[in-house]
Symmetry: C2
């Protein structure tokens, strides 16, 4: 499960054929490995169902290390959540909404969000878990506050350009636009299991997924067009 250490300070520790476990004296790697394992475990089982032992095992390391790097289970969960949010907001920046025509910008944002949700089911799960608990951990996090307002500002700018051109309704609200995009993507994907069971249609079929992507773009634009 472990391949040779390729980091900058690669130590040649393996003299004499010592054990090949994950943690061969590489703190950065061990920390990252725990965080990745915790992301999977929390996403799959929620905070109440996640097991500290399972995380350590998945990470190929030891419980002691988990407490060493992250303090306790809750702080580890918070680190996972923060990293997940940083992930989506960072990716969003590469969109460069400022350079796009208004309608195209909204369409690109919708398609980006859909794609990101599809590729990061663990993000959706973590959001669900966090909301189940009333955003108790997110509210504690100081790191994340300003990350988001920047994004809404950019979207507001894009909408304003559309309004100036007479394309969009003057009362179109950036948060509502984003909520619409996120809602349609989030619900479809995160509730796919119950929906598929109940309504007897395979929502994860590629052509259904493609239809829904088009639907999101169409609906979002229709909701703000004049």
């Amino acid at each position: 499960m472990d391949k040779g250490q390729a980091q900058g300070k690669a130590k040649k520790a393996g003299n004499g054929g010592r054990a090949e476990r994950a943690g061969s004296r590489d703190p950065e790697r061990t920390r990252a490995s725990i965080l990745a394992a915790a992301t999977v475990e929390f996403a799959e089982n929620g905070i109440g169902g996640a097991r500290v032992d399972a995380i350590a095992e998945r990470a190929g390391t030891n419980k002691r290390m988990l407490y060493h790097y992250f303090g306790d289970k809750e702080q580890l969960y918070l680190a996972v959540l923060e990293e997940a949010y940083i992930g989506i907001r960072t990716a969003e920046r590469s969109l460069n909404l400022s350079d796009l025509a208004p309608e195209q910008g909204v369409a690109e944002l919708a398609m980006f969000t859909w794609k990101y949700f599809r590729e990061h089911p663990e993000f959706l799960s973590l959001l669900g878990t966090e909301n189940l608990h009333g955003a108790r951990w997110l509210r504690q996090s100081t790191r994340l506050k300003e990350l988001h307002s920047h994004f809404i500002d950019k979207l507001a700018e894009l909408l304003d350009r559309g309004k100036a051109k007479g394309l969009f309704r003057v009362d179109a609200d950036p948060l509502n636009v984003y909520l619409t995009i996120a809602a349609l993507g989030y619900f479809y994907l995160s509730n796919r299991h119950t929906l598929t069971t109940i309504f007897d249609r395979d929502l994860m079929d590629e052509s259904n997924l493609e239809d829904w992507r088009r639907h999101i773009v169409q609906v979002t634009l229709a909701s703000i067009r004049r």
Copy 2:
């Protein structure tokens, strides 16, 4: 462990009038009380975080009764889930979509769903929990299968009447219409905690809630109108 149980000396068993606490030799009442308590506990904590002791205490009864009536924790969870689904589908029937004009029918369905979601946050939580676990329990349930197809049939009928009058697009799909309505309501309400924290707007403010209700109706109709 189980100290402070108010049951201790409450064995007078209310001969003159019905006892207020559960568990005075009234099986129907005890069962219902456990089910209600379990609904709250599972909705608040998920299946992994829910505690059997907490459910018994909330129900004003004893763990033994819980196992007596429901078998074990998982079967109790399934009973809670089934009851929750029966709740919404039963309420939906009172809509009588068949009697309404097409556009009005869709608007009424959207407003009904929004209202039901607002009034039953525990239903949204249970859905979230069930989806986190891949609809594992729902799939086991035989009771629920036909409950839903009936509802979609009624909606299809309504859309067909709208199509015949030239009001709706001929490719308007009943499941997509319902998904749109449910998505916009579900996401807004179930993710309100993280959204409010991040975007600094109180989504539960009455005027914002009212705006979103109008938004759902508008968007849904716009997505199917010719």
